[in-house]
């Protein structure tokens, strides 16, 4: 599927922020099941940005600037995807899978979440699917299951996209990407899935990406990938309870959400009154 993506973020630094260093993880990479035809990240200062690969093989932009008021960042381009039932083709720039056995502060989970899967280790695929279901049930907001959740979320997404982002439609039927940050529920479920998988000795990583219209779900999203020695990395989207499809565009992978925040900003040291800064992404 050919997806046209236009995504805008707004960073609002406090008035006395001074100079900022920003780190952007907003560039998708080519994979066996994802080909980036064109991609642009735009913001003031991007012309002088340093661009490099981080420890997980993600493309990072490092931008310096002295913001004047609100800062608009846009990421846009065209990506062609194929549905592979969630299997992610290996990439040469990614680290060894064992790295993703590391426990992090964000991926700690209670043994009650995964204990009962210990006897399923011989069938890793079945285990991971069962785990996805378990995580999804455990962390779903109470009551949401019963509601017409699709319509509900769709209207939420639309209101956000109207109020907080500008989206463009292209001739090819662009998928408008609302500019909300990743929903806490998606992040929490991905972390729970990852923590449980690691506790069961299965390497698992956190993935950010775009979701381009599955039952009204759109925008920045997060899911998990788990490692299986014969198939490689397989995506699991516990919030949507499915393996990623050709409507999931992968942006970046890491140990947890802290590794792959789409935008991170800190004030340059030595500037006056810049002890800490809140960056809100609208």
């Amino acid at each position: 599927m050919r997806l046209t993506i236009h995504h805008e973020l707004t960073v609002t630094p406090p008035e006395d922020a001074g100079s900022l260093v920003l780190q952007l993880l907003l560039t998708p990479a080519n994979h066996g099941n994802q080909r980036v035809e064109s991609w642009r990240v735009e913001m003031p200062g991007i012309g002088h940005a340093a661009r490099f690969a981080d420890a997980h093989g993600n493309t990072v932009h490092l931008v310096n600037l002295r913001p004047e008021g609100r800062l608009r960042i846009s990421a846009s381009g065209r990506v062609v995807t194929t549905d592979t039932n969630g299997i992610v083709a290996p990439s040469e720039t990614e680290p060894v899978p064992t790295l993703y056995l590391r426990t992090t502060a964000l991926t700690r989970v209670p043994v009650t979440l995964y204990g009962k899967f210990r006897n399923m280790k011989h069938d890793r695929i079945a285990l991971l699917h069962a785990l996805m279901e378990r995580v999804s049930e455990t962390y779903a907001e109470p009551g949401r299951q019963q509601q017409s959740q699709d319509a509900d979320l769709q209207s939420q997404g639309q209101s956000q996209s109207q109020s907080q982002s500008q989206t463009q439609n292209s001739e090819e039927g662009a998928e408008p990407i609302p500019a909300e940050i990743i929903a806490p529920s998606a992040e929490q479920m991905a972390h729970a899935f990852i923590g449980a998988a690691r506790a069961l000795d299965i390497p698992a990583r956190y993935v950010t990406g775009y979701l381009c219209g599955i039952d009204g779900h759109e925008g920045l999203h997060a899911w998990a990938e788990a490692y299986e020695p014969t198939l490689g990395w397989i995506g699991f989207d516990p919030e949507l309870q499915l393996c990623p499809t050709d409507r999931h565009v992968r942006l970046a992978a890491g140990l947890d959400a802290a590794d792959v925040r789409p935008v991170r900003a800190v004030p340059v040291a030595g500037e006056p009154e810049t002890v800490s800064v809140e960056v809100s992404i609208a």
Binding site: V21, Q23, H48, A49, A50, R51, F52, A53, D54, A55, H56, G57, V60, L62, N64, T93, P95, V96, T98, L99, L101, R102, T103, L255, D259, R264, V266, P267, V268, A269, G270, V275, S276
Partner: protein
């Protein structure tokens, strides 16, 4: 090793003077009465003038203390040093190869020689280093290996210290003081120089500058600031090398490159000898609350525009739990047997070993896995019953937090104390530089436990230092 009688470096067991100490012994005998007492007080005056002090954490006796200096040098023969330095070089080469592997394909884990969880779930392992290729594939450029001697040819490595080992300024100042105090003794001996250290450090740092840094790469020493216990050393080394001494706010990253703020405008920095812990070097990548670091610094490093010395994440190779695997690490990467011994280490998470440890705690040394500086440790033979009971409880509560080793009979050297000259236990920290080549300064820092019978040489626990001589053939 003989458990009861420690090896004396000056006197053989038959009472004769060992060859390396022959000249020293003669010189001491020639000294008029009270000469050493005077020398000792001169030494104190010298060190006060030089301003060498160190801060003791958690002490009530004021912040700054003078580190005691003993006027009797410790002497190592050329042959002894050759073997020692060969063993040290072997170790640092293997540990750098290990670091490269651990942060790339992890072949040693795949080969089953080191347990996977010990590495990837270790707090000292730095995931951000994955896939990064530091200049010349060197991670640990500046190393201070802690070595103890227990016999004529028996040396043990206690710790490898691959993070930011300190104390090299004491090595240099001890030599300078000794040359002022006893110039005639130097005339009668051929002592290998240590004064070359700052120059070798500068060469080592320049040799690992990123490609395209030009013929004279710019070096900065990054210090946490004046309140750090080793600030004196940071400024001393910067001064000796002709490098800039910087604090975090003096540096900034622009376009993925690192610059220093100067009165004449920004100046590009190629190599940073950082004396700030990993966690604090860059609030963008590591601890966001850090005010000591430089935002974007780690990214500039990843982009290949600056070299950090030592690399972040070297701590995984000197972790106390990884330590027990160093002989296996040497064999895996170099195909050689370790020249220097590892101290046998008991693993308290193993039930049988733990039971044995708890039974025999009075004969053992207990160390915290992540402790340093002699804090949080128990030396069985000199401990009280109450202290032993306390450590038994600690081990039972958190067996993975402690390693346990036999009490080594550290060698002794003649030391000037109140009652005259008496043997005191010593260790040795040689300083190793790894860049385009491995450079080991002959000798190093000898630390001496000034209290009779004490085996704890840390300056924070009442240890002193000695000038350390390596004799030339």
């Amino acid at each position: 090793m003989d458990e009861n009688v420690p090896f004396d470096e000056m006197y053989a067991s038959d009472g004769s003077v060992r060859e390396p100490y022959r000249v020293l012994k003669q010189w001491i005998e020639e000294q008029p009465e009270r000469a050493l007492t005077l020398m000792q007080s001169d030494a104190e005056g010298l060190f006060r003038k030089l301003g060498i002090t160190f801060a003791v954490y958690g002490s009530d006796e004021g912040n700054e203390k003078l580190i005691p200096f003993d006027v009797i040098p410790r002497i190592i023969s050329a042959a002894e040093w050759r073997r020692l330095s060969k063993g040290i070089e072997q170790r640092v080469r293997a540990l750098n190869a290990f670091l490269y592997d651990i942060y790339h394909r992890q072949e040693i884990i795949k080969a089953g020689r080191v347990p996977e969880k010990l590495i990837v779930n270790n707090a000292a392992f730095c995931p951000q280093m994955m896939g990064l290729n530091p200049a010349k594939n060197v991670y640990a450029h500046i190393i201070g290996v802690d070595i103890v001697r227990v016999g004529p040819d028996e040396f043990y490595v206690l710790e490898d210290n691959l993070r930011t080992p300190s104390g090299v300024s004491y090595m240099l100042e001890d030599r300078e003081a000794m040359m002022q105090l006893a110039p005639d003794l130097f005339q009668r001996s051929r002592v290998a120089p240590v004064e070359t250290y700052p120059e070798n450090l500068r060469r080592t740092l320049q040799s690992v500058a990123p490609d395209g840094s030009g013929s004279n790469p710019n070096i900065a020493v990054l210090t946490p600031g004046i309140y750090n216990s080793a600030y004196f050393e940071h400024s001393f080394l910067a001064d000796q090398m002709g490098a800039h001494l910087c604090e975090g706010p003096d540096l900034f990253v622009e376009g993925g490159k690192v610059y220093m703020r100067t009165t004449t405008g920004p100046e590009r920095v190629d190599v940073i000898y950082r004396r700030i812990d990993d966690e604090y070097i860059d609030p963008l990548t590591f601890n966001p609350d850090s005010l000591l670091g430089v935002p974007g610094l780690f990214n500039a490093y990843r982009a290949g525009n600056v070299t950090l010395v030592n690399a972040p994440g070297t701590g995984i190779a000197d972790d106390k739990a990884v330590y027990t695997y160093v002989p296996a690490i040497i064999e895996f990467y170099l195909g050689e047997k370790a020249i220097l011994n590892n101290v046998p280490t008991y693993n308290c998470t193993d039930e049988d070993q733990r039971a044995w440890v708890l039974e025999n705690i009075g004969d053992l040394v207990v160390k915290e896995v992540h402790g340093s500086g002699g804090y949080g440790m128990l030396v069985g033979p000199t401990s009280t019953k109450a202290q032993q009971a306390e450590f038994k409880k600690k081990i039972e509560a958190r067996p993975d937090n402690y390693i346990v080793q036999p009490t080594l009979a550290l060698s002794t050297c003649p030391t000037y104390v109140q009652s005259g000259i008496a043997p005191r236990h010593v260790d040795l920290r040689p300083y190793v530089l790894v860049g385009d080549e491995v450079r080991i300064t002959p000798g190093g820092l000898t630390r001496v436990a000034l209290k009779k019978g004490s085996l704890v040489v840390n300056s924070s626990q009442g240890g002193g230092t000695k000038d350390t001589w390596v004799l030339e053939d």
